[in-house]
Amino acid sequence: MSTELLLAALVLAGAPVRADDGATALLEEALEPPATAYEGELSVMTARGGRRETRHLLVRFSPPDLYRRETLDALGTAELVVVSDGKTEWVHDRRSGTVWQGLPPGREHGLSDPDEERALLADNYAVRVLPDAAVAGRPCRVLEVAPRRGGPVVLRLWIDAVEGLVLQREAYEPDGTESLLVRFERVAYGAKGRAADFRFRPPAGARVVKSRPAPEALELEEAAKATDMKPRLAAWVPPGYVFESVSLLPYKGATILHYRWSDGVDVLSLFQAPARARVRPPTGGRPRKETVAGGPGALTVLPDGKALEWSAGDRFVLVGRLGLESLRRVAESVPR
């Protein structure tokens, strides 16, 4: 989508954004892949399930799609290396001696094209420009993304004023607590790196696992033909969420249906498994008993969100970052 179209969408949706403050153009810039080679050092703070963890990464990128990321351990040695030459992505976990070989992640999930997803983002979220700030010694323009329907800010982006690279991102939970902080501690542009930086050969003795291809996004009718179950889609999802697609998740000879909704920033998943399925809670975790549509259910709070499980003939699990009452309302809208 062009900047003009996105701008028009924002204006039509009544965004509290002045047409001349550059917020939309800046967001467009943040959504584009970087055009300049860079290398640097990143810190990634995640707050998962109340626990904060910080990882440090060395990153190197060369346009259009070559990258290398090394996650460092406490002693500063790379414990996880992710390398892509644009065709194959290798993930080498040095601790376990395992290498995963697969395709570089792409926009593989939805049936919507990138323009539609950006329009969805513009429909549901308002962007505004905050005062400039510096990150890693670089002048940055700062963007704030908040739901139009109200509620706390979901995202803040610090975008290099010259190169357009996002140098810092802060993401927030629906209750306003910070969930993710990705920040460049150091960045240098123009360093294209050696070709060898973006090539990978599994070391001798490593266990190489070929990743399964990404699941194909299907229409509901296609999914219905691929399984014995009758697909049952939630009739209600929170305002702003749009059904994107369904995919088949094969697991131990069975097929689980995975329905997906997005509001442009956040996502919601509903899994429908055969009636004989039982969901095993996470190691050391204990689900909380909940009532769903008058029947027994269980809620597990996980680092990446909540999982609400119940049975309605088939086994259902709803995963998302929504509040419990919204999750319950979605669950109770699944036809019985």
């Binding site: 040695t77 996880l80 593989e108 498994a273």
Partner: protein
């Protein structure tokens, strides 16, 4: 902060220190030459140990263990009992009668109903599929993906192995 004990430093290097110790050491070690040197020594030792050759097992170990644990099939046991019984005629008659009764009883049994095996799905499998979808959102940074090791801890081969 005074320098921690060797045990604490070793636990820190192995990522087994408590969160409080980890936080203190992460702040202290980089600025302390003694602790930095000790951490470097621990790392060097760890590298040396991991470079040592893995001792190989005796080639006949598997066969020996299997022989030790091998169980005789029931029919082999029955035949040997019968053979032993023929040496003592009374025992042979009793054994034969038992075998006939067993066959008759076994033959009259109803076939067991076809059981529907329960399918146990770890919640992490579903979370991994959900996370992979979340990572495809335009504003989600790829660096936010958890390391595969976290999923190995959860008992899965890897997030990438799930799909």
């Amino acid at each position: 902060m005074s320098c921690p004990s060797f045990e604490t430093l070793s636990a820190y290097a192995d990522r087994e220190a408590s969160p409080a110790e980890t936080a203190l050491l992460a702040a202290h070690a980089p600025a302390c030459p003694a602790c930095s040197r000790m951490l470097a020594l621990i790392a060097a030792e760890r590298r040396s140990l991991s470079a040592l050759p893995v001792p190989s097992m005796p080639p006949d170990l598997t066969a020996s263990l299997l022989a030790l644990t091998a169980r005789r099939p029931w029919w082999e046991t029955l035949l040997s009992e019968l053979r032993a019984g023929f040496a003592q005629p009374t025992g042979a008659v009793a054994a034969a009668a038992l075998a006939v009764v067993a066959v008759l009883v076994w033959g009259r049994r109803e076939p067991p109903p076809a059981a529907v095996a329960e399918l146990e799905v770890p919640v992490e499998v579903l979370m991994a599929a959900h996370r992979r979808y979340a990572l495809s959102m335009p504003l989600t940074p790829p660096e936010s993906a958890p390391p595969p090791a976290q999923l190995q801890v959860a008992g899965l081969a890897a997030e990438r192995d799930v799909y």
